[in-house]
Structure formats: structure tokens, C-alpha cells
Symmetry: C2
Subunit: 284 residues, 2 copies
Amino acid sequence: MQLVLPDVTLKLKALQEANLLKGQTADQILSRISTSNLLSETLSGAIYAQECVPESLEMKAKVFKDLDEKAEVHTILASSTSSIPASRFTESLTHRSRCIVAHPINPPHIVPLVEIVPSPWTDPSVVSKTRSIMTEVGNAPIVLKKEVLGFAQNRLQYALLAEAMRLVEDGVLSPGDVDTAVMHGLAARWSFMGPFQTIDLNAPKGVGDYCSRYLGGIYNVLKEEDNSRQFSQETVLKIEEHQRSLYPQSDIPLATKWRDARLMALATHHVQTQQIDEALFPKK
Amino acid sequence: MQLVLPDVTLKLKALQEANLLKGQTADQILSRISTSNLLSETLSGAIYAQECVPESLEMKAKVFKDLDEKAEVHTILASSTSSIPASRFTESLTHRSRCIVAHPINPPHIVPLVEIVPSPWTDPSVVSKTRSIMTEVGNAPIVLKKEVLGFAQNRLQYALLAEAMRLVEDGVLSPGDVDTAVMHGLAARWSFMGPFQTIDLNAPKGVGDYCSRYLGGIYNVLKEEDNSRQFSQETVLKIEEHQRSLYPQSDIPLATKWRDARLMALATHHVQTQQIDEALFPKK
């Protein structure tokens, strides 16, 4: 477990440099972190434990059995899984009502979203406690009211991604133009107001007005967007070739570093724009 | 036509204040703008004309007939339509090969995306000239290689919006949590790298690797995302009620002002982050 500290230190220093630690220093935070190779020692006195093992049902099941045996009864046991409902690896546990999914989005130290997904047997107080812990540490939690395949983030992502691939496969857009369309159009707005608020401001009387004006036309487009369709290897290759024309495969780690720097700058931007929100965002 | 100048002036002053006029002043730009109620006078010597009448096929057809008769032969005639393919109102024109769609995204003075949609008879040189004019004035143009229902921007938007509405209708997420999921997760990344580049950095060897790892799982989710489905009035009401809990209908103009201020701040943010791109974005 000592192995994680150098990485955590690097990330904390980067956040400190970007002034994103809310007045704390990286060293102050590091002084509160301890590691152990003994699970029972790690869990001692814990109010919340987050499992982060690889995405394998077998491993999750094994770790949760261990956690269930060793954690104090009131410790919340959360899984980082991005796709396996907790019901699949917690059903037979003694204290399964304290188990929950809290799916962080990559890279979790910069992207604030966390998907909280209770199982049918998760205690409601565990859901609300998890949500408030996430809010307290500066994340943006959402709560799924039930388990669904792909949770919410990936369901939304895949819906758009499938249409993005269809546009390339049908020879409508180049892969680069798909990225431009999303970056410089849709996501410019979605990065601070989400899809529902976006349409709320796209009709004179708000979202209800928008739906009565445009849902008919939207259904006509959706009819052509066949989600049962699969994609050819040629389409995948075309997108791969486009990405490789931007940077070689060997530069993916560098591009990832760039992505994290841009996400950090975006987080700073959101802090700076709070004054615009306070000055202009109407409150009921 | 004098009526548009006060609005243009206001917008230019706001852009100047945000330092988004690339060293020019609002007055310098205003001095190059002239208005006329005579179409032939407006078109005299023009290399490019952009029609912005309301979204009615009848009106577009009438205006384009007029434009075709009065414009010099080499003037590009572009329509701002967000949904009507130019083939539907330019087919019978004498010089139909110079007609094209150049769909700006709302609000066009801040959102850089422009969708360029040629008709089957649009001259390729008109497409490339339109693209370069848009780039030159600081927009981010994309070129659709053929006319499709909803063009590209709305096809992508509707795909995600439909899943957003299904998540609310199926009782998985509240409307507010849908907006949070997109704002603080997906769009944080998409605002500077688009959906294809995003997945390129989500597998060790890039987008091809991502597809071979995850397309199977993606198809399983997509199978549940039935785009032929229509939404109940209760779902629309639920979203409407959520938006009205944020601000009353009468505050939509104020919220729109807030949106524009945030978009302007985001544009400034993109200028500021160019140094991160230059320092870290790998170039092949």
C-alpha cells in the first residue's frame, strides 16, 4: 500500500499548484493519510470504505466478503465499480444493507461526478450518508434510484457515442468534425448547464414549451437513430486513424497528462465563474 | 434593418469587455457594418450572404428566389436554417450550385460551431470557401458530406436527450441529477476534447483498443435504449417542474443573460488554456 503514496503526493501537489485544495496544503492532507497492508487495521474506526480493485466480479465478491467480515457494523462499504451492480456481489453478505456503489469518473481527483447506486437492500440512510460525504469532499454526487445496466453516466455517453459512430459510418461527418461538433457546440453549453437546462433556455416559455414545439421533430430524427445497430471494423479503423493522425499511440500517456491539466484548468474556471453565477443566475 | 444595430452594438461591447475581439474594438467593427432595406444594395459586391429569416420553408424559398435573382453570380448564398435541407428551397434556382446551409448555434456570437451542409448540387468550391470564411472569422465549422435529417448537432443532441428523458421516465434519476451527470462528468471532458478523443484516452492503446474492449458491453446497454420510444406528458411535466424550481418562467430572459455570460467566460477560458495545449498536447 505504500506504493500509492507517491502517486497521491504528485496529484495533491498538482491540485495545490492549481489552487484547488480550498486553502489546504498538499502536506496537510498527506499528514492525514495512512496506509496499511492489513485490512482490519485499515478498517478500524472507519465510517466509510471505498473498494478500488480491478473490474472483475470475482475480485469484487472476494473483497466484499472480506470487508463484510472485518469492518465494523456501521462502516459504509462502497465499490468503485463502473458497471457491476452491487447486488451481484453483496447479496449473501451478513450486513449487505451497508453496501453501495459509488462510481467515480476518471480521473477521479479532478472530475467531480460520482454515481451512487444502491442495491435493492441498501439502507436509505447509507444512500444519504454516502451522498453527503461525497458533497462534503467537493464531489458532485448523483443518486440512481435503482440499478440499471451501464448506470447513468455510461448510458448517456453511449447514446451520444452511438450516434457519433453512425455519423462517421454513414459518411456524414469525419471523426474530427464529430469531436468539433460536440466540443464547440453541445458541450460548451452542457459544461455548465446540462441538457435539460439547455433546452429550458431554447424556447420562450421553458422546457415544457420546448417539448410541445419540438418533440414531434425530435421523434422523426430519433426514428433514424437505430440503437440496435452495430458498427463495422472499417468505422472503428477510420476513427482510430484519425486519432493517430493527431498523436501516435506512444504519446497517449502525454495526451492523458494534457487532459488532466485541461480538466484542472476547467475546475479553476468553474471556481472563477461563481461570481457570474452569484451576479446573474436567477433564484426563485 | 437599422433595428439590428443596437443589438449588434450591445453584443460587440460585451465581447470587447470580455477581451474576445482579438485586439479590435467594438467601434472598429461597427464602422465596417452598413445596413440597407434594399436587397440589391445589400448584395452589391458581396462575396457571401447569410439569410436569417424565421424557420419557415415558405419564407426561405421566397428569400432565396429573391437572392438568386439579385446577387452577383459568384456570391455564396448561405442559409441559417437549423433543420430544413437547402435542397428543399434551392432546387429550381438558376444558380443553385452556390447555395448552402451554414447553421450557426445559438447564441451565434459566442458559440463557435457552424454546421455547413451542402445540397447535392452545391459546388465543392462553395463548400470549401464557406468553411474557410467561417474559420477566418473565428468560428469552428464542420462540413456534413450530405444532407441528413436534423443535421449533425441536433442528431447528437437528441440521442443524448432521449436517454436523459428515459432515465427520468423510468425513475432512475431526477431531472437535476441528469444535468449534474452531464455537466460534472461527460461535458467536463467533451468541452475540450470531444467524444472520440475522450475514449481514445480511456484505453491503454487508444480508441481501437477501447472499441475491442468495450463495444460488446456498449451494445448491451444500447439494446435497452429504445429510440422509437415517445415520452409521456408526466415526464415532460416533471422536468418542467424541476426547471421552475430553479427559476420562474419570467426569469428565463435573465437566465439567458447568465448563459451568455458563462459562454463568454468559457470562450475566455479556451483562450487562456492555449498555453496548456502548446506545452502539453502531443503533436505527431
